[in-house]
Symmetry: D2
Subunit: 162 residues, 4 copies
């Protein structure tokens, strides 16, 4: 009864490129985060892609849904950029029945001391183990069903729809 964690990139994994002075992707920090959390739950981590979710196309979302459908686990966490997390959740919801799938991300990259990432990862892993089958977004302590959430870009927070 292990949990599958699929990595897709997003703010979670952005780090500083000291030669260019910009943020980029290198490798995922999720394994290091699970170690820091001293995670005792069996977890299989798979890197599907490492990208900014604003650059994600429909075919990437389909690939993520495919990975969710075909893996053995029924409890799945997906790390994902926040900007289009809800779009990907919708594609998964249409394609993957009978599993508990929780998308999560971070407002601040894990490489920053002030990151919310570790809190969110602990939260997403817990919701994946305790909620009934369905597709959810878990951010900053809250969990939303995929069809009742949007990112408020002015405020930088996720909120339920009316």
């Amino acid at each position: 009864m292990s949990v599958r964690v699929f990595i897709t990139g997003g703010t979670f994994d952005k780090e500083y490129n000291e030669l260019t002075g910009t943020l980029h992707f290198e490798k995922t920090h999720v394994r290091e985060m699970l170690e820091r959390g001293r995670c005792m739950v069996g977890v299989q981590v798979s890197v599907l892609m490492m990208m900014d979710s604003l650059d994600m196309q429909h075919e990437q979302r389909v690939a993520i849904a495919h990975a969710c459908r075909t893996c053995d686990e029924t409890q799945i966490v997906i790390t994902h950029g926040t900007d289009t997390m809800v779009d990907t959740a919708r594609v998964i919801a249409d394609a993957v029945p009978g599993k508990t799938i929780v998308l999560t991300g971070a407002m601040i990259p894990y490489a920053f001391g002030s990151s919310d990432g570790l809190f969110n990862l602990g939260s997403a892993l817990s919701f994946a183990q305790s909620l009934p089958a369905g597709v959810y977004v878990a951010m900053n302590g809250h969990v939303f069903r995929w069809d009742n959430v949007r990112k408020n870009r002015e405020r930088g927070v996720f909120e339920g729809l009316a």
Copy 2:
């Protein structure tokens, strides 16, 4: 539908006393941790006590149970030292029906860079919102019912019975 967080001390909140070179308690770090996690769930934080759980007597456990029973919230997180967390969970289970109560803690103080505290706090808050009424221990991604868990002191981990 906010969550109540009761603070009792434990490794979570230990910090370094530079005049004596030892670990001690000053004030709780839980509010700062909720800010770092950018927690969007309504949370009421109350400090009940700040102590090492090895020093906790039965009367303190009764006081914690009393606070759980009399507060308005039905979703409760308790931060607690790991050594006697299970003992306190038992006292609460006998005294507080109909609420979801999750005890959590840390193996490494939050003041250390390598602390598992933020992960555990995110996890406990999530289980408190998603599990049915009962008393639980949430540590390092796992959740246990109060009557199916013990701390393995040699290995420094929580594990299920039988």
Copy 3:
């Protein structure tokens, strides 16, 4: 006999803008860094500007030199972006005799857990107190005279000439 610290921005002070997902300047972290270093030396911190050193024009360098010449202190640290640190050092060397002036910066922003900033700040403050009058660049434990240093941009390090 206090030390003057002039802030000009640079990698040191870059932080994450969570609404845009990019790095920007808000306020300087230098006071917080001096507190973390529990600095016992009398230090006067003045923010002259907050900018990327690639955007710095000659007039800004002249303004920095002017501030160095007219302040009371004879021991000065300047935090500065690394890309044009040597250019500013040259302008100061031409304009400010008789003071010990040490430019420093960081390869990784202080807001990142892995920043070299605190090490460099401790180093620069120490060289400012111990070297004879002159203009220097102090980075990553090394100190260079202003006319014997360049940034190797491929390797991302400072090195002496010839």
Copy 4:
């Protein structure tokens, strides 16, 4: 012209033993700290001992002085517990002429996020390269000659005599 760094333990290197809930010594953090500081100065690190300076006896101080006298380098940094740092400095001053030797330490262990250790290490390495031969204590931005310093234990700071 590399710098020798001798490790003797002290607050610098204390870490949390999660099985006992106390602070202890395991291995030195100094190499990791030099990496974080991206130290470009050639440095040879040698662990002489790992102990609380309150437990240090005269024979240990003699051994430290011996290591300073017999190593090839003339610029030396010693990490040391703060409580008896001045005592060790005195033993070295009597025994090792002609070298620049800087003792340093930390008020907060490096393993804590709030440690002053990285600042002090950057500072000590810089003073070791820039001061004339002699034995010094460098703490929190200040440098003192060995015969003009004491630790004020009530305030937890180093201060000059008279």
